[in-house]
Amino acid sequence: MSDQRTAEAILGALSPEAMKLAKNVMGLERENLHIKNPTMLVQKIVDATRELTK
């Protein structure tokens, strides 16, 4: 650990859209954790990203 940064601080510094995407991704990852290669996951991240940058 190079500095005293906490996970909270790092995430707190994200832009509002990035924060939304981060939560979205974590939700998707958790849901699919038990599946080795979830087919739809990447596309869902892509879709969420597009949605956020409309």
């Binding site: 940064r5 996970a7 790092i10 995430l11 994200l14 995407l21 981060a22 596309q43 991240i45 597009r50």
Partner: protein, 684 residues
Amino acid sequence: MKLLKLTLDNFRAFYGRQVLELDVDDDKPTVLVFGNNGAGKTTLLNAFTWALYGTFSADVEQQHRVVHDQKWADTGFGEPVSASVKLEFEHDGTIFAVLREVSVVKDADEQGPVTPRLVVTEVRRGESHQVPNGQDRIEKILPEALRRFFFFNGERMEKMFTAEENNGEVKQAIKTLLGLEAIERAINDHLPKAARRLAKELGKDGGTRLQQLRDDQEQLEQRQMDTRERALEVSRDISSYKAQVEAMERALRDNEQAAPLQKERQRIGKQTADEQVRLQERLARKRDLLSKGGFLAFTGGVDETVIDLADGMRRRRELPAGIQRDFIDGLIEEGRCMCGTPVAPGSPAFEELDKRRYNAGLADVEARWMYVSGQMKHLGDARRALLEELRQSAEDMQACEDTIARLDAERSEVDRQLQGVDVQDVQRLEQNRKEYDEKRIAAMSEHRRLEEIVAELDLEIEKVKRRFRSAEAADEESRRVQQQVNLVNEVLDAFSEVLEVKTEEVRLRLDAKVKEVFSRIYIKSHTPVLTPAFELQLTSPAGVAIRSTGENQVLGLSFVGAVSELAHEIHERKNNNSEEILDEGGIYPVVMDAPFGSLDLTYQEDISAALPKLTSQIVTLLSQSQARGKVMEHLQGAATRMYVLRSVTPNRDAAEETIEINNRTVPYVTHGDFERTLLEEVTV
């Protein structure tokens, strides 16, 4: 994960259906199960892991005999028979039922190996669904790499942290448990893929600045991936070279001990051979002596007897006088001398003849006698010499035989010491060791070089990404794509940093927890340390501690306690802060067989007091002798439920037994038709 119920059907020692209810009150986390030796405690521990992972721990004998023996024996050929374990538990608001079952049609007297079938069902919002990839799901709830921390045998706990155990696996499993795996998957796989897919929209002609940068990045990433793969190969090589070097070193060490022994064995062999030659020589000499002078041995006393006899005969005038006397006898008989003179008896001529007759031949006899008696005296000396020589030779041969016997004994001792030592050519071993060590060193520097390349590529990719972020977009459409990719990259960068921080945080917290729990139960000034590689070490003021069996047990229990406490804490924090996107954790049960293993009574007391605080649910399997006095008090005080494994035996010679629980007398061993174990709940 909260255990709810374990249902056994004809599983091993448990005949028919036996049920263990497992839900506990918050303030009384323990389920206590008592059982005699051989009642089925270890079987019960294994029932949990068999249900979850389909395998038994290595110490379980006759693993293919899953179905209760009596049940199997009662089944006719061609009839179906089955055994199963069902474990019901709750995890993250979902109720799961894990059913593991062997089900076969009997076609032989003996049970054969069968792969059990797994059915996982989940109940969510009142609806029950079968989970198609049940084993994967179980893996995410409680990774198999961690099973030895949650389902363990106190007697085998010292094996928990030995070098053979794969710490990398443990590290990964702890990450899974503490919720870091999800973020890891996002970083390593899904976010980069999403960024790439988005960037595809920029088109393919390669003319624009953004396209150019994207293609550069892709190339760099490809190179980085290849380099990583190569590094992985090299690191596998390093492990195998290292294993080789270690094997050679072991062999060399063995040979170091063996070399002087081998020399000793050679020396003994040579001496034995020499001594055998000497023995042969002496044997030959004895034979020679006997063949040449052996008769002498039988002449003992003959010489003296002959001398005496002859002397006496002479005195008695019995000595023979040969021909001369016969001739005179003839003259006397004829009554006339050779000269013609008649020799009448009584005449002076007769007297003369008679006198002559006696003396005739005597000189001859005398001469012969002198010879014989001379020979006889010589015979005696020769015999004495022979006997002396024979005695000496016997002595020498005995000495040879004694030496050979002593050498045999020496060799037998050396052989014993050499037993099991793989005797090899030391020089060749040394050569091989050097070769592999050089290969290992070369591979290590190759690995370092590859890692440097990966790091350099990281920097370059970063640079390209930065340029991409701020590059001028040619049109509106490209600008949007640029924005999207940038957004994904922003999250990706943040996640990477978070993972680093979190992993270190988890390690530090786990380290602190282990220290805390350990010092709570252990008196010595030893300190456990969780290294950056997630290896658990124990240090004493003198450096790395040499751990006793008991110390390993305390260490193991501390680690188990620390992991579950930490998981619990993280889980609580998440529940209190629903905005939190990272924290996961959870609550985990611990199932312990013979938790006190080989611990002294004081530790048993301390641990029995500390156990209930370790985690929110503990199933403890023990025998009556392992729960006396204070230990029993502590355990019972924290128990929501208590069970007895009642052993039923057809052996009428064995006394029936009872056990006192809560001032209640409960059957422990009873007589019955056949061997089996019953699970009986005792009211608390």
